[in-house]
């Protein structure tokens, strides 16, 4: 073979090998992504649920959650399983966790509504400022993390526009306008973000026991304040070793034993 010919052949072979390697790596990555998407335990759990074996379905979903697979779909399915088992409290905990990750999911909202409408306690927010209530309602459609990223993004956009203004002084006129918009949006995003953070500053607790006595102090010897039932939600504002101090949406507050509730 003449040297002139061998060179192109070598190159071709080398190129071919390289291309093959690249293809393998790509396939491997894609495959692992695809398999990571739906773990087999999840499929098993779904099958258990379909066969009305809710106990095993719940166990399987819990396993996945413990392993870090904390997707909204998982928590939603877990909530369904607990509800079919009659454990309203644990179902509400699961649904709230799903809602926190996916606040606009209509199925999660529906199911949570169905459970809550069947609870014995009526805890209503007192009539406050109408605007504040409307704002609160609207903001329920945005998660804390989304608000956080929106704020950071707006900061990034401002920085980008400023950099642009520096590098292209000729375009300074309209970049200035854009920067003003961006700053306004950043202020708005900051407001939304701050509101969301303030709402979530206290942990949300759900009562798991059928009946829970809420007391004036953190001990069994303290007098009773009022009675709550499974599924009631409240914010935890203080705690001792074994007790939580909770505040309800209607303003009432008191101490409950930690083992009677679960934090969302």
């Amino acid at each position: 073979m003449s040297p002139a010919l061998s060179k192109p052949n070598e190159q071709l072979r080398k190129g071919g090998v390289r291309r093959f390697l690249v293809a393998m790596i790509l396939f491997g990555t894609l495959a692992s992504i695809a398999w990571a998407d739906t773990p087999t335990r999840f499929i098993e759990a779904n099958a258990s649920y379909k066969g009305r074996d809710f106990k095993n379905a719940a166990l399987a979903y819990e396993e996945l959650a413990a392993a870090g697979h904390t997707t909204p779909a998982l928590y939603y399915d877990l909530g369904n399983s607990y509800l079919r088992l009659g454990k309203k409290g644990k179902a509400i905990v699961a649904y709230e966790r799903a809602l926190r990750a996916a606040p606009r999911d209509p199925d999660v909202r529906w199911n949570l509504d169905v459970v809550k409408s069947g609870l014995p306690d009526r805890i209503e927010e007192p009539y406050g400022d109408l605007i504040l209530m409307k704002v609160n309602e609207a903001l329920a459609y945005v998660s804390v993390n989304e608000a956080a990223w929106a704020f950071t993004l707006s900061l990034g956009v401002i920085a980008l526009l400023m950099g642009l203004a520096l590098l292209a002084p000729g375009a300074r006129a309209w970049t200035r306008g854009l920067i003003s918009f961006a700053v306004l949006f950043a202020v708005f995003a900051a407001g939304v973000f701050a509101f969301e953070v303030w709402k979530e500053k206290d942990a949300l607790a759900v009562l798991l026991d059928r009946e829970v006595v809420v007391r004036y102090g953190p001990s069994e010897n303290e007098s009773k304040a009022f009675l709550l039932h499974e599924g009631a939600e409240a914010r935890v504002t203080d705690s001792t070793d074994d007790w939580f101090f909770i505040r309800l949406a209607n303003g009432h507050s008191g101490w409950v034993p930690k083992r009677a509730c679960e934090i969302v």
Partner: protein, 631 residues
């Protein structure tokens, strides 16, 4: 009323009992009445009453003044409970009035053993009907299960939580009753700790409006007995279960019980109380009362004889089915009702479901349960309604449905069948679904049909199905609490700060440039003049002119903040301040400008002398201009 009396002058004493014949466990009231006493009355003395337990009920005193005559009457009251049968003597009594002793003879009573037909046999449903509280003397024996297990004579107040059976099948109701026994004046205040009933479905019986109170003799002490709460427990799994009945909460009134003498102070206008005497020394405090745990054995339902249609119903039931019309047009709905009625846990009863019938569209059923809890039995009915819409004409039969349940008292399964229903479906106004449509209908393939729309409304509200696709990102907690987020925001803020500062500096650079030009104007001009001088020496006159021009124009441009080519003598004149004597310097400036123009563009002989002159002129003009003030 039997009485015995002793009369001494105006003073008379008598002892009287409320009944002279009674049964073991019943009680009578003994009154020792002193009339017209003069002097202090001490309490009656007597030996313990044989065959009775006795309690003092206090001492009352009445004084009346009639026509100037004062008369007094003192009554000492005791409650005696018979504890053994036979003919008994109550008394005699010694009463000391004003230092004199009076003796009152005994009273005879007869105590029988048999409570008579008025008492119920133990084990049957307790509580004879009749006026409730205050029914002292009725013998009410609670069923043996309700009696305390051990000796409780040292306990003033206790609760017995008891169940009506020790063994039950799954879903067979077990009634748990809470019975309070108390020697003290007490008020029931609910539960401090609710019962723990894992493994059971609970149905609470509503509390009675006037809870029945009766009295019972236990270990020689008299207790007031009442049932305060009843719960029906339906077991959900087989096994041995322990129910913790919880802790009751009560408020008790404790009096000083040491001595009956404390009731006999002579200065009181005592009062007669029905159940518990009042005293000046009472303490009221809250008292939680624990209960002993109750064990139940739950048996699984037998496998033998279990029908295929059995779905867990336990109790006694009847079933009935009905349709709301027998003749219907195709497309019109028919409601099929199944009613299961009887005793048991109807909430968990599953009514039999309709299997799909050919020719019908079957919609989801709705169920409603109606539970009554009368007479300590959980009963009621459950109705399931299913809507069927026939699709085509013809004769159809809704099949019979099977429903089975387990009867725990007979320990057998029973299977019931509903009857069939025949439906006659007439053809509807809408054409049937085409089976073999040919082109015979005039060639048009599609004829729009009138269609009545119905609201999509919920039949029953339930949760939606699970998500089988694992959608969404795994949630990893609040991002704003992570270090990464905080650092990122901090960096962005810093970046924005730096960029802002840079932008602002850029704006003023134009200003800076002007100032820096002004400052360096003389130096720059001087440098240029020097270079021009060098060129002059070399004899490069063209280059010299150019350099001089640059120096001069550049100098004025820097001074005035203009660009070189905009500089004119007139402009310079404008910018001189009023104080300055413009003429001299302006003349020279004009002169030098002209000379340069000539030198550059004119055809003048360039010789050393002329050039030197220009140089000197330029130098002078610049130097003198330094002293000039500008507006």
């Amino acid at each position: 009323m039997m009485l015995s009396s002793a009369a001494f002058a105006e003073t008379s004493i008598e002892a009287s009992v409320s009944r002279s014949r009674l049964a073991v466990g019943e009680e009578l009231t003994l009154d020792i009445i002193v009339n017209g006493a003069s002097g202090k009355i001490s309490k009656p003395a007597f030996s313990p009453f044989d065959g009775f337990n006795s309690y003092s009920q206090g001492h009352s005193q009445e004084i009346s003044i009639v026509n100037g005559q004062m008369s007094s009457r003192s009554i000492f009251t005791y409650i005696l409970i018979a504890n053994s049968e036979g003919k008994k003597k109550i008394g005699p009594f010694d009463v000391n009035i004003g230092g004199k002793n009076f003796k009152v003879p005994a009273v005879d009573v007869e105590v029988m053993s048999d409570p008579g037909p008025s008492g119920p046999a133990p084990g049957r449903s307790p509580l004879p009907t009749g006026p409730s509280s205050g029914q002292m003397g009725t013998v009410y024996s609670p069923p043996p299960r309700a009696l305390p297990g051990q000796d409780v004579s040292d306990q003033d107040i206790f609760v017995k939580a008891w169940v009506d059976k020790d063994e039950a099948f799954i879903n067979e109701p077990v009634i748990m009753t809470y019975t309070i026994y108390t020697r003290l004046s007490a008020t029931y205040k609910g539960f401090e700790k609710e019962p723990v009933t894992t493994g059971f479905w609970i149905e609470e019986f509503p509390p009675e409006k006037t809870p029945k109170r009766t009295e019972q003799l236990i270990n020689g002490s008299r207790y007031v007995v009442a049932d305060v709460r009843k719960i029906a427990l339906f077991p959900t799994e087989a096994g041995v279960f322990t129910v913790d009945p919880g802790t009751l909460s009560t408020i008790v009134e404790v009096r000083n019980r040491d001595d009956f003498d404390s009731f006999f102070s002579s200065n009181i206008f005592g009062r007669r109380n029905v159940a518990f005497p009042s005293s000046f020394v009472t303490q009221v405090y809250s008292r939680p009362i624990p209960t002993d745990k109750v064990t139940l054995v739950v048996k699984a339902l037998p496998e033998q004889g279990r029908p295929a249609s059995f779905k867990g119903a336990v109790g006694e039931y009847s079933i009935d089915s009905s349709v709301d019309k027998k003749e219907v047009q195709a497309g019109d709905p028919v409601t099929f009702r199944v009613k299961v009625r009887g005793k048991g846990n109807l909430n968990t009863v599953q009514t039999p479901a309709l299997t799909p019938i050919d020719g019908f569209k079957i919609y989801d059923s709705s169920s409603s349960a109606n539970i009554a809890k009368d007479d300590m039995v959980v009963a009621g009915e459950k109705v399931t309604e299913t809507v069927l819409v026939p699709k085509k004409a013809g004769e159809f039969t809704i099949p019979a449905l099977k429903f089975s349940y387990f009867d725990p008292s007979a320990r057998a399964y029973r299977e019931l069948t509903t009857r069939e229903h025949r439906l006659n479906v007439r053809p509807g106004t809408e054409p049937d679904e085409p089976s073999s449509s040919g082109p015979s209908s005039g060639g048009s393939a599609f004829t729009p049909e009138p269609f009545e729309k119905q609201d999509v409304s919920l039949v029953e509200k339930d949760i939606r199905y699970i998500k089988t696709a694992d959608i969404g990102e795994p949630y990893k907690g609040f991002v704003h609490r992570t270090l990464f987020y905080g650092a990122l925001n901090f960096l962005l803020f810093a970046l924005i700060g730096v960029l802002a500062w840079l932008l602002m500096r850029g704006d003023t650079s134009a200003e800076d440039r002007k100032i820096s030009r002004l400052r360096s104007s003389h130096r720059t001009a001087k440098n240029r003049l020097r270079q021009a001088h060098a060129l002059l020496k070399k004899g490069l006159y063209d280059e010299f002119c150019a350099e001089i021009s640059r120096a001069l124009y550049g100098y004025y441009a820097d001074k005035l903040g203009l660009s070189d080519r905009n500089v004119t003598a007139d402009l310079i004149a404008e910018r001189l301040s009023e104080k300055e004597d413009a003429s001299a310097i302006m003349g020279e400036i004009k002169q030098v400008f002209d000379a340069i123009s000539m030198g550059r563009f004119g055809h003048v002989k360039k010789d050393a002398e002329a050039m030197k002159k220009i140089y000197e002129l330029a130098d002078r003009v610049i130097t003198r201009f330094e002293k000039v003030k500008l507006k």
